[in-house]
Amino acid sequence: MPDKKVTIQATRFDPDHDEKPRLQSYEIPFSDESMVVLDALNYIKSHVDGSLSYRWSCRMGICGSCGMMVNGTPKLTCNAFLREYWPRPVVVEPLNNFPLIRDLVIDMDDFMHKLKSIKPWIIRKQEIPLGSGEHRQTNDQIDEFRQFSECINCMLCYAACPVYGLNNEFLGPAATALARRYNLDSRDQGLTQRLPVIADTEGVWECSFVGECSVVCPKGVDPAKAIQQTKLDTTMRFVLPFGNRE
């Protein structure tokens, strides 16, 4: 198939010149079955239009920077194969629910604040000295939180969550999943420091369990599960007779 073509419609927006975003069409060669949407964007940038802006780096689905809306669904573009869309045109837009900086580049500041707000580090009442070696932790104990530690901060879940779209104050899926990752870690003792953030009005209670966050998550993190479990655990602390209400 030497002459196969694919049409890419990409969002263009330059705050210096544009009032609002528009779509621009590019027709490019679809030269290899294993081409992904990101390859198409790279082809455009290298050979057709050097001014198209977007983020990417690893091209192997792990750095989390290449998330965009592909035909309306949040995707890692390095992991979205053109063959699954061809011959229809592929519409590539910036992730929903975020302020747009330029073309396909969204503003991440909000998440960076939220990430910090849940104190994503090991909190201990008493540090053990380095000299006494590692904390013992079994593989079963790791399995408790492993799933929630796989988050690559790609923001697809935020783009999929209508609750976040309506209310940016909502702590949201990935941040809650990471909070739960630390709360479930046998080495951590910071739950009571995180509760005021995760169980706040704009915390887990905002989530109405749409569940789309978990559907789009490329790493199987299941943030919806993290949120609902947090609701249940927190509630139990208060309603069970011997719950810890701290």
């Binding site: 705050p15 975003p21 503003d107 919806a224 609701k231």
Partner: protein, 133 residues
């Protein structure tokens, strides 16, 4: 200059259209799931009326039975089943149980939920019919 202090004025602010839930199947089914509350509530109100009518005396007692009511109930039943199905499935992802220090797999939890539902439904149906003879 620090990422904490960027002027955000020149950004394009994304707005969620109120019709967002018509844009994807999953969103639509989510809204349907939440909406099940309304028909179920109406039907329970009817049950309350049915109870109240027991005070009407033997001569004037007339339980609901019109065709319209049956149709309404069929619709409510569909919503009720959808609610049960989604609620009991989702509960499986929430409940985080350990037995003998091993996590119980979610599929087992879901299965036991559905089992409980089946048993409860059987018992209730039996009672409703047995005492109605």
């Amino acid at each position: 200059m620090t990422s904490e202090a960027h002027a955000a004025g020149r950004e394009y602010r994304w707005r969620m259209p109120t019709s967002w839930w018509t844009r994807s199947r999953n969103y639509f089914f989510y809204v349907v799931r939440e909406f099940t509350a309304l028909p179920l509530a109406l039907w329970l109100l009817w049950l309350l009326v049915e109870i109240k009518r027991a005070g009407d005396g033997p001569a004037r007692y007339s339980p609901h039975g019109s065709a319209a009511f049956v149709v309404f109930s069929v619709v409510v039943l569909l919503f009720a089943l959808y609610h049960s199905f989604t609620f009991l499935t989702l509960a499986g992802t929430i409940i985080h149980l350990r037995v003998l220090d091993r996590p119980v797999p979610p599929s087992l939890i879901v299965l036991s939920q559905f089992g409980l539902w089946a048993v409860a439904s059987g018992v209730i149906a039996f009672v409703l019919i047995w005492f109605g003879r």
